[in-house]
């Protein structure tokens, strides 16, 4: 088990909306820029949920993060 700070979502739609909220807060994309998002979401297939990992300052856009536990793949 790997524990990290972040934001957990049940559906991909919720995760996409949160990603857009963060991008809007950061003002991305800038005119002429190709960087679309500040953070991206991941899917934990062994746990069945979507999540965004916390980065410095993200609480201003998405609120306080929580501790989430992700089950890693065992085999490389």
């Amino acid at each position: 088990m790997a524990s990290t700070k972040g934001y957990k979502y049940t559906t991909e739609t919720e995760a996409i909306a949160a990603r857009q909220t963060a991008a809007d807060y950061m003002g991305l994309p800038v005119p002429g820029g190709e960087t679309l998002y500040w953070v991206n979401y991941n899917y934990s297939d062994l746990d069945g949920f979507y999540y965004i990992q916390y980065v410095d300052g993200l609480e201003a856009a998405l609120g306080e993060p929580s501790d989430i536990t992700i089950t890693p793949h065992e085999e490389i």
Binding site: L28, E34, T35, Y37, W38, I76
Partner: protein
């Protein structure tokens, strides 16, 4: 009467650009110019101060670090796109800011052994859009210039489906370089014996005989040819099963052909620029 020469003519032998001599790469990423016919930029960089982006090209066949430091004066710079110099258009890109690898720190270009390097610490990766059959049953030769910063596990380059199907993977496993091709029962892996935390040229080849790796140890594993067709994203600096790579990458060249006969010469070309050994 013999008139003595008063001037000494100095002749410097310049190494040919790699792809001009060893052509046919399927994808090629570098912080030096690899082909005289390539007219594009090396990288597209986002500066952290205002998220503005700019293409950075070459000067004298090297990354234009002057333009890079001017653009990123006093701030951090991250690579949004590493352009493919092969001519095939397989640019490696990352549209999420926090996943973009770094090349400038507080106005200074990150260096590895005196040359610019892209740093993949802390969950950075590029993605490359290719056909599902890109690797398929092809012979494969890959050359990377890299340094692992910690003896952990992470993917240098991987494309696979879930459940280890169609898996092409070059990575680091507990600090040891690893090359794997897997598709169901046809599964083969070759590992370096030792862990390395210094700059290395990593060369892997998959052909009809099996898997070969020089990193710098020479290793070989006999294997049938696995079909590496997969719908998975081709990741660069990460891996869906390896996870995050912590280290630097300065060059990555992929041939979908067996370059065994050119292996030594290609490594020599790479080393003449990077001075790895």
């Amino acid at each position: 009467m013999i008139t003595p020469y008063s001037n000494i003519i100095s002749v410097t032998t310049l190494e040919a650009l790699l792809l001009d001599t060893y052509s046919g790469a399927a994808a090629a990423y570098s912080l030096r110019k690899l082909s005289a016919t390539y007219t594009g930029s090396a990288i597209r960089v986002r500066r952290e101060s205002d998220n503005t982006e700019q293409d950075i090209g070459f000067v004298d066949n090297e990354l234009d670090t002057s333009a890079l430091t001017t653009f990123c004066s006093g701030t951090n710079g991250f690579v949004m796109t590493w352009y493919d110099q092969s001519g095939n258009g397989y640019d490696a890109s990352q549209t999420t800011a926090t996943s973009q690898p770094q090349i400038v720190s507080s106005g200074s270009v990150l260096l590895e052994n005196g040359k610019a390097a892209i740093n993949f610490l802390n969950s950075k990766e590029f993605r490359i859009t290719v056909a599902n059959s890109f690797f398929g049953l092809n012979d494969i030769s890959a050359f990377l210039v890299t340094r692992t910063i910690s003896n952990d596990t992470g993917g240098l380059s991987q494309k696979r489906d879930a459940l280890l199907a169609g898996n092409f993977g070059i990575g680091v496993n507990a600090g040891k370089y690893q090359f794997q091709t897997r598709n169901g029962a046809i599964s083969s892996t070759v590992d370096s014996t030792n862990a390395y935390s210094t700059q290395q040229i990593v060369n892997v080849i998959r052909n009809s005989s099996g898997l070969y790796m020089n990193s710098p140890e020479t290793k070989f594993t006999s294997s049938a040819v696995a079909d590496l067709t997969s719908s998975g994203t081709w990741q660069f600096g990460n891996g869906s099963s390896y996870g995050i790579f912590n280290g630097n990458i300065q060059e990555k060249i992929i041939y979908l052909s067996d370059q065994t006969s050119n292996q030594s010469a290609i490594q020599s070309n790479i080393n003449s620029y990077y001075g790895v050994y």
